[in-house]
């Protein structure tokens, strides 16, 4: 198929459309407004529904409702709006409902700014809402990946009956790159034949809920969820770049991951042996590869567009086996490859 030149935000919307998304619910916020703009045209044309809700809370609960009917549905927002969606995400995880939620991370806390940031790593990866649950988290580093991972997000959401998050930022959302789209999927508009709500005529009623009050019921439910999260560990994805002969492994995701690549290429010409692991799934986290690189005696440097969040997962992965440094780019500053040169050189010398 011919390449098309589109924004990251549009790639996400188009990926959803081609993956069979039939309902989109949203509330406007910069820097992700291209997603609802695209969907406002695409959903009706695809025979689906587009709703600009009265709030992010409503949009997220509409997602829950569509998911309960077995429909491929999506909502998107940016950081402040994501905080408002957390209640519904927790309920979806508790009720085992599939849905795709996009966060184009902007600066925070609070309203922050409209520029790029990775300040929502904890919120995305560690739960965000209440309760002992997990969402799968996919972090695109290119516009092609923004498309492909949205496609994948729907597959994973229905395979695991679980919310799947796409965590981008203002860079991934606003930049344009050529992409090659996939063939649109022909999906059953109503999936989940064994669990979806469709009217209970001539069969037992189904209940989708997150409340379990009878003795032992919640423990049993939580055990089932934990077993599911364990099964999902095989979905781990990452990009490995110039790690073979590297003495320093940089760990960076999303936009920062790709920006760091430019720094590595430049430093390589000057003889500095740095490589990169770019986690593509943030949950499940690529712990195994990091641990095995640590066992080979390599040092680590985690670089994030925040003041230290994913670095905790890196350190849990390498279990104290290797030296692990951190460099944080302050949210509010636009990152460039130059910013990471000295931190990488320092980490190599440490």
């Amino acid at each position: 198929m011919a390449r098309i030149f589109i924004k990251g935000n549009v790639a996400i919307a188009r990926g959803a459309l081609d993956a069979g998304c039939k309902c989109y619910f949203g509330y406007p916020i910069t820097p992700q407004n291209d997603i609802p703009e695209f969907m406002s045209r695409a959903m009706p044309e695809a025979g689906g529904e587009f709703v600009q809700a009265e709030s992010e809370v409503a949009a997220a609960n509409m997602l829950l409702g569509a998911a309960a009917c077995g429909i491929r549905a999506m909502t998107s927002s940016s950081s402040p709006g994501m905080s408002l969606k957390q209640e519904a995400i927790s309920y979806m995880a508790g009720s085992e409902l599939p849905g795709v939620i996009v966060n184009m991370n902007r600066g925070g806390p609070g309203l922050g700014d409209i520029g790029p940031s990775q300040g929502d790593y904890f919120q995305a990866v560690k739960g965000g809402g209440h309760g002992d649950y997990r969402t799968l988290v996919l972090a695109p580093g290119t516009v092609q990946e923004a498309y492909d991972l949205t496609f994948l997000a729907f597959e994973l959401a229905f395979a695991y009956r679980n919310p799947v998050l796409i965590l981008g930022d203002a860079i991934i959302g606003q930049m344009q790159e050529p992409i090659t789209p996939s063939k649109p999927l022909a999906v059953d508009p109503f999936e989940g034949g064994s669990w979806r709500l469709e009217g209970a005529r001539q069969r037992e009623a189904r209940i989708l809920k997150s409340l379990h009050l009878t003795d032992g019921a919640l423990a049993g439910h939580n055990l089932k969820l934990q077993e599911k999260y364990k099964r999902a560990e095989k979905e781990v994805r990452f990009e490995e770049f110039m790690t073979d002969d590297a003495s320093l492994i940089i760990v960076a995701y999303g936009s920062i991951g790709r920006i760091v690549k430019s720094t590595i290429r430049k430093l390589r010409k000057e003889g500095y042996k740095a490589g990169l692991i770019r986690p593509v799934t943030l949950y499940p986290f690529p712990s195994q590869i990091l641990k095995s690189l640590a066992e080979q005696g390599k040092k680590f440097l985690t670089i994030e567009h925040n003041m230290g969040q994913m670095v905790e997962d890196v350190r849990l992965s390498i279990c104290g086996l290797a030296h692990s440094a951190f460099h944080g780019q302050l949210p509010g500053n636009l990152p460039t490859p130059n910013d990471f040169e000295q931190p990488i050189i320092n980490a190599l010398r440490s």
Partner: protein, 181 residues
């Protein structure tokens, strides 16, 4: 062989900075190259300069954001003031000499190409095509994409409603290219 170039394109809001950034990116894609385009937004949006960054390569592109570009198109003086010091030594700078005093250009350190973009666009029929003249000069000065590829890509960035303006814009691109020796 490795092909790589990056450019910051800057000017007043309304000079068509984003349009020629997009056009250059399309031409690169149509030439089979990889390309990233990112508009820089933020405080610059309100007054001051508008700018975008285009990175072109035949290899995988890392950063779409560049601090020290290999080239610059400066359509007005604030753009030259702001970005000229960032350009790498020996980099190509297209300066719109219709609006910028050429004495401000750092000819010792950079490869400066002065183009009277507004006057040339005027002579073709409309001052608003000054951006095309500057992009034409850029394609010739850097050789990163061919003039024809840029001309062919006009249909991607000019909407069907204005498609009758494509020949004139193609002419403006060619006129810009002709100013470069």
């Amino acid at each position: 062989m490795s092909i790589y170039n990056d450019a910051i394109i800057a000017g007043f809001g309304g000079q068509g900075v984003m349009l020629i950034g997009n056009l250059l990116a399309y031409a690169a894609m149509e030439s089979g190259l990889n390309v990233t385009y990112i508009p820089v937004y933020g405080p610059e949006m309100r007054g001051g300069t508008a700018n975008c960054t285009v990175v072109i390569s035949n290899e995988d592109i890392g950063s779409p954001i560049i601090k020290n570009p290999l080239s610059l198109i400066a359509l007005n003086r604030p753009s030259l003031d702001k970005f000229q010091p960032m350009v790498q030594d020996g980099g190509v700078v297209i300066v719109n000499s219709s609006l910028v005093d050429m004495e401000l250009a750092d000819t010792d350190r950079l490869r400066i190409v002065g183009v009277p973009a507004n006057e040339i666009a005027d002579s073709i029929g409309n001052t608003r095509m000054a951006n095309m003249v500057a992009l034409g000069a850029y394609t010739r000065a850097t050789g990163i994409v061919g003039l024809e590829a840029v001309q062919k890509s006009l249909e991607h960035v000019i909407s069907a409603h204005y498609s009758h303006l494509i020949p004139k814009n193609a002419e403006a691109l060619a006129a810009g290219a002709q100013t470069v020796n």
